[in-house]
């Protein structure tokens, strides 16, 4: 009965909001509609509607999947100091990171879903119902860790919010082990995703031992970058209390992560170009093109410029603390890693193909539409969850105010709970 109230209260919080909120929802619904149109087309005609082919058999979808796994994993950046060291300013906002992780995982699963040729057989890869080929298949492992991470974060978030809704502190005995478990789980989702590529001896571009460390390093840049921007938006529109101190601390963490990321990248680049074996061809395709095929070259350099630039912005304390520097840096990191862990990771692995064939892949219109739709779903989910979480965490939405009239009042004029 109490949980029913929690649900009803949450639903009420979701449907009420200012005009801007509805406009935002409308925008997301439009994105989802575009995605649905694209996906319907793809379902009808097959993946031939994408530009993936036998030569380049993964593309934009799996690139986005990889990037979003990184975003999901990055929630731990906030969890570690918040819970382990009880660092107050971040603890208040850690719930946002966890919500982001949940939504990111949903988009990850959706990206896999739209990428597979037989979505009707999706259950074959689900833990318990399907026929998981463990231990040898990394995608099977990925399915396990993603599902575990999803359930873990959803449980933690629901527990925290439900307790707060009932005006009780969260249960340390229940939540703390889960929170601690979520840290290795976060590392594992990105590591396993890296291993998915890393383990393929047939693709020398990925077959590098530092691929997983690079994944983690870049995730620790891109995930917090999104969180930085989201927190500022929430501070502005949802009146969430967030201290500047927390923001610049996150930016500082990102600077270190980006340093490690660039260092590992440099180590890889050195090995490739100095030894200059026949495996250099993939890196060459990315940065300078092969036989006049250069479609990735501008993106590769743009990514490098964005990541390097953001590193400098976040390294210098004065630019890091300045709102313009902070936001510019966050956007640059997001852009840089989005390219690096998306198309610049997936496509060169396949170009040239294992038999030396060069097919230049760029995402098709349907791929862009479906991707937009999936991000729309992710953003919608996040918006709705935040819409519930913020008033609960602020103490404006509780069991007392859960009834119709009280909720409305509480949301319109936030008051501290007595």
């Amino acid at each position: 009965m109490m949980f029913y109230r929690f649900v009803v209260g949450s639903l009420r919080a979701i449907v009420r909001g200012p005009k801007l909120y509805y406009l935002w929802l409308l925008f997301l619904v439009a994105l989802i509609a575009i995605g649905a149109i694209g996906y319907a087309d793809q379902l009808k005609h097959g993946l031939v509607r994408t530009n993936m082919r036998d030569q380049v058999s993964w593309g934009f979808y799996i690139g986005n999947f990889t990037f979003m796994v990184g975003v999901a994993a990055a929630a731990v950046v906030l969890v570690i100091p918040a819970y382990i060291y009880n660092w107050k300013p971040i603890k208040e906002i850690v719930i946002i990171g966890e919500l982001l992780a949940v939504c990111a995982i949903v988009t990850c699963l959706l990206f896999v879903m739209v990428d597979i040729g037989r979505p009707d057989r999706f259950w074959h890869i689900m833990p318990f119902i399907g026929n998981l080929h463990i231990p040898s298949s990394l995608l099977a492992w990925d399915s396990v860790v993603l599902n575990v991470y999803f359930v873990l974060n959803l449980t933690i978030v629901t527990h925290l919010l439900y307790r707060a809704f009932n005006k009780k502190p969260y249960s340390k005995r229940f939540a703390t082990p889960l929170i601690i478990l979520s840290i290795p789980a976060a590392v594992s989702i990105h590591t396993v995703t890296a291993f998915l590529y890393n383990g393929l001896a047939s693709r020398p571009y990925w077959n590098s031992a530092i691929l997983a460390p690079r994944f983690i390093a870049s995730a620790f840049c891109s995930g917090p970058a999104i969180i930085l921007i989201l927190l500022q938006l929430l501070r502005r529109y949802a009146k969430l209390e967030i201290k500047n101190e927390a923001l610049s601390k996150i930016a500082e963490l990102m600077a270190y992560a980006m340093f490690v990321n660039l260092f590992l990248f440099g180590a890889e680049i050195f090995r490739e170009y100095y030894s200059s074996t026949e495996h250099l061809v993939y890196t060459k395709y990315l940065f300078s093109g092969v036989d006049g095929h250069r479609s990735l070259v501008p993106y590769a350099w743009l990514s490098l410029f964005l990541s390097g630039g953001a590193f400098l912005l976040f390294l210098i304390p004065s630019t890091r603390r300045h709102p313009v520097g902070l936001n510019l840096g966050a956007f640059m990191i997001y852009g840089g890693v989005f390219i690096e862990k998306g198309i610049a990771l997936v496509v060169p692995g396949f170009t040239p193909s294992t038999l030396g064939d060069i097919y230049e892949y760029v995402p098709s219109r349907v791929e862009l539409m479906v991707t937009a739709g999936i991000y729309g779903i992710g953003a919608l989910l996040f918006t709705l969850m935040v819409k519930v979480a913020v008033p609960i965490m602020g103490g404006h939405l509780t069991i007392d105010t859960g009834s119709k009239r009280a909720t409305t009042a509480a949301l319109e004029t936030p008051q501290p709970v007595t």
């Binding site: 097959g46 990428d115 998981l132 990394l138 047939s202 294992t354």
Partner: protein, 307 residues
């Protein structure tokens, strides 16, 4: 709880329940018996005898429908066999690089024998043209050569198809076990279990796996009705397929189609466990190599120089 909630609740529950039931009923009603069976079909290796018979009946009916044409308005009866591996047999293949002239007859015969899609085009065999100067160098090969006659001066040819690895990366990477190595060494795919994730395309070092990006299209009169469940039966869109050494032929003692057609006799096939087989003779008496040996895939496909 307020009074209004108490009133609302049962109604709402009933309504939701009805909605759910209606959705479930309409979903099940909208798909045919066949679709429903296909959806719930278990992994090939887990099918009971009775289940398998039912599955084969369904698949044969579907395959026969695909052969309906003006010439055969009723369709030609497709037979989908499940001949098991013969005991004491591990298949091996040997290809003579000094004899292959790159005429692509094998590609054509393979397409017809194995019901490969004509549009979009799927070829299980890729014939690579390389320069004699460069030696075996797949990264600088050309699969799209056009010539009035072959062999072209200064070039040699290397057909590549599934190498039927002993330690197959594709089998390892499949998340649902939809592809595996049979006791006779043939790596097969259960087209009704494959989810189409294409991990195997990424992990195969030989470009041997092919994905049905669209619904495969074969002229009905060109469909080969002599089929095997794990081989040349028609594939649906969205699944992966590959060379099976013509499993529907070799398990009946026949040579694969590419061996039968090769005009230069470059293609040799047989039982690796039989010391008198042609492949064994090649391995024991000729200079043999395997493609991308350094990857540790241990192919059962050997290239040799017959001269």
């Amino acid at each position: 709880m307020s009074d209004s909630d108490a009133k609302d609740k049962p109604n709402r529950r009933v309504f939701l329940k009805m909605l759910g039931q209606a959705a479930a009923v309409s979903m099940l009603a909208s798909c045919s018996e066949r679709d429903r069976e296909a959806f719930f079909q278990q992994h090939f290796k887990e099918l009971s005898k009775a289940d398998l018979a039912k599955v084969l009946e369904r698949l044969q009916a579907e395959a026969t429908e695909k052969t309906i044409s003006q010439a055969h308005p009723e369709g030609r009866a497709a037979s989908i066999g499940v001949e098991p591996a013969m005991p004491g047999v591990t298949f091996g293949y040997a290809l003579d690089l000094s004899r292959c002239v790159g005429c692509r007859r094998c590609v054509d015969a393979c397409v017809k024998e194995n019901n490969q899609s004509r549009d979009p085009q799927i070829h299980w065999i890729t014939v690579l043209e390389m320069e004699k100067e460069g030696g075996v160098d797949v990264m600088h090969s050309n699969a799209y050569y056009v010539a009035d006659t072959v062999p072209r001066k200064g070039h040699f040819y290397m057909p590549v198809s599934c190498q039927q690895c002993r330690d197959a990366p594709c089998v390892k990477s499949c998340p649902v076990g939809a592809t595996w190595q049979e006791p006779d060494g043939i790596v097969v795919v259960d087209y009704n279990y494959c989810i189409g994730c294409r991990c195997c395309l990424a992990s195969c070092p030989y470009g041997a796996r092919h994905f049905n990006w669209a619904e495969p299209h074969i002229p009905p009169d060109e469909i080969n009705t002599n089929m095997h469940y794990l081989g040349n039966r028609p594939r649906p869109k969205g699944v992966v397929e590959k060379c099976t050494f013509c499993i529907q032929r070799v398990r009946k003692g026949l040579y694969p189609a590419c061996v039968e057609i090769c005009p230069t006799g470059s293609r040799k096939f047989g039982n690796l466990l039989d010391p008198d087989s042609e492949v064994r003779y090649v391995i024991e008496n000729k200079r043999v190599f395997i493609l991308k040996e350094e990857l540790g895939t241990h192919p059962k496909f050997f290239y040799f120089y017959g001269v």
